[in-house]
């Protein structure tokens, strides 16, 4: 039996999908004859126009799709930019993990562990204030020393660094999870738009941390860097000025 309010049910269907829905699929889902659904679609389209809705019905790729009206593109764009807060890349997480567990640490030490150039990633982390300059090392070249910030702790909801879970603690938890629920787990977990670290991210951090050689060969004597010099120092070290000196 078709829904009592066909148009409303149709709206619900169209809303719930971000893929064009063919008429036959709509009719099937609504248990209604295709021509009645086609009529309801026309009425719905007219109603959208009539009330000056923020969305409109489009016929795309052999199906019907609700899209935001083009005149609102500007606002939707702003929203998407606002939402695209940080979801850290794996490279960023790795770098952050190394810094968290080994701070204060130089860029070249991070790179020695990661095996790849990490300037860009460090730049991002600095910009997002997850990492900060702790001073300069007294070793040759007097490279900058990096450490984590309050924001880093906040991102993962930690009070202090000692609260970083030990890798084996996380591993035990993840290994213990109920296997029969695993396959269902992935489906309904949308990428969070929240600027909050997820367990998966924390896991990466802890994992990288556990793989780090924990010898204390990275002890640095720290020399402070003046507040004013900071930007220049960073620009120079991360090559963000564009005229990075060859090394």
């Amino acid at each position: 039996m078709p829904p009592s309010n066909l148009q409303a049910a149709l709206e619900a269907l169209l809303f719930s999908s971000d893929q064009p829905l063919p008429l036959t699929l709509l009719a099937e889902s609504l248990d209604a004859p295709p021509d009645r659904v086609a009529e309801a679609l026309r009425e719905y389209e007219a109603a959208c126009t009539g009330r000056g809705a923020g969305v409109q019905l489009r016929e795309i790729a052999g199906g019907y799709l609700l899209v935001t009206a083009p005149e609102h593109a500007e606002w939707v764009g702003r929203l998407l930019r606002g939402k695209k807060r940080m979801r850290l890349s794996r490279a960023a997480l790795e770098t952050m993990a190394i810094i968290a567990y080994k701070q204060p640490v130089t860029k070249s030490e991070v790179e020695a562990i990661r095996g790849v150039d990490s300037s860009a990633v460090l730049g991002t982390l600095l910009e997002r204030n997850l990492v900060t300059i702790r001073g300069r090392s007294k070793v040759v070249g007097r490279p900058l020393l990096y450490g984590t910030t309050q924001e880093f702790l906040g991102y993962f909801g930690l009070r202090d660094l000692s609260e970083l879970p030990r890798p084996e603690e996380l591993r035990a938890l993840v290994a213990a999870r109920e296997p029969e629920q695993l396959d269902m787990m992935e489906m309904e977990a949308p990428a969070s738009a929240l600027a909050r670290g997820t367990l998966a991210e924390l896991e990466v951090v802890a994992q990288v941390g556990s793989d780090l050689p924990f010898s204390s060969d990275l002890q640095h004597e720290v020399e402070p860097v003046g507040e004013g010099d900071m930007d220049d120092a960073v620009a120079e070290e991360l090559g963000q000025t564009g005229d990075r000196p060859a090394d």
């Binding site: 619900a12 809303f15 719930s16 999908s17 971000d18 893929q19 829905l21 699929l25 794996r90 396959d183 992935e186 489906m187």
Partner: protein
């Protein structure tokens, strides 16, 4: 099964519902009590059992308390202990694992029961411990509260499940395994790098130059994939005894990918790479790996 096939054996059973015929001294549950399980024969003839599942000993106790309309603040310990043990026994007879927690609680119940049987402590003998049931009652009450909270969460969950947010994709049988993203050449090389780090450079003395033959490896991979549906990159490389063999295997794999015999997929970034048979009319559009080039 054999027992049921012999009607000769069938004499009066000792059902709990017929206390008159029950030789065991156990106090039967009130007549209103629901059983903890149901027995039945399914159409095929085997005897089936439906047993109530409890989340733990506290859950079981709460159920018994509710079922037998017991005042939680004045639990008849002997009765409840007997009922509790009945369930444990039932689980055991069904060859179910009885979790340790259930047994610990059984011991607790019996300890409380023993204490209740003792005469009141004479003055000075023991500090007045109060009602030996007290701690258990508190635990039950606390657990019951969270069980109730879980119940409200469950109804919220049900309500929420009626609401669909934007962009729930239709169809594509997502109940099945997660779609695998095609792996790139980079992923493959990355995986190779990791393998190379593990496989030590060693000299294999008896080995002739031609023992690691690309074509042999190609047919080996193709055969494995055809027979087993897929093989993981790690497994494939794990079977290699020397770096030379790793490289030959890798080249063979690239050849197969180029020929379109197999494709490589990866469930997640940095995850293991899976080598699968290429579907017949496989879409050429998403050829996962570009020409191996100078690999």
């Amino acid at each position: 099964m054999s027992a049921t096939d012999r009607p000769d054996d069938a004499v009066t059973p000792k059902a709990a519902r017929t206390p008159a015929k029950t030789p065991t001294a156990a106090k039967p549950p009130p007549p209103t009590a629901e059983p903890l399980g149901i027995l039945a024969r399914d159409p095929s003839g085997s005897v089936m059992v439906k047993l109530v599942r409890f989340e733990g000993p506290l859950d079981l106790l709460l159920h018994l308390i509710k079922r037998d309309e017991i005042d939680i603040y004045d639990i008849p310990i002997a009765h409840i202990t007997q009922q509790y043990l009945t369930y444990i026994e039932l689980m055991r007879s069904l060859d179910l694992d009885v979790a340790g927690e259930f047994l610990v609680m059984a011991a607790t119940l019996m300890r409380i029961k023993a204490k209740m049987l003792l005469p009141l402590p004479s003055v000075g003998e023991e500090d007045d411990e109060g009602d030996p049931r007290e701690e258990l009652v508190q635990r039950l009450i606390e657990y019951r509260q969270f069980k109730e909270a879980a119940g409200t969460l469950k109804s919220r969950e049900s309500d929420r499940r009626l609401l669909f947010e934007r962009g729930m994709l239709p169809g594509e049988d997502e109940a099945g395994p997660l779609p695998l993203a095609p792996a790139t050449l980079f992923d493959l090389l990355d995986a190779l790098n990791r393998v190379m780090l593990r496989v030590p450079e060693q000299t294999v003395y008896e080995v002739q130059g031609d023992i690691f033959d690309v074509e042999d490896k190609m047919s080996l991979i193709a055969r494995t994939v055809a027979e087993e549906g897929s093989i993981s990159f790690t497994t494939l490389m794990h079977n290699c005894r020397a770096r030379a063999e790793v490289i030959v295997t890798f080249i063979a794999l690239l050849e197969l990918v180029k020929l379109g015999t197999v494709s490589v997929t990866q469930a997640e970034p940095f995850g293991d790479i899976l080598i699968v048979a290429r579907t017949r009319e496989g879409s050429e559009a998403d050829a996962p790996v570009e020409s191996p080039g100078g690999a």
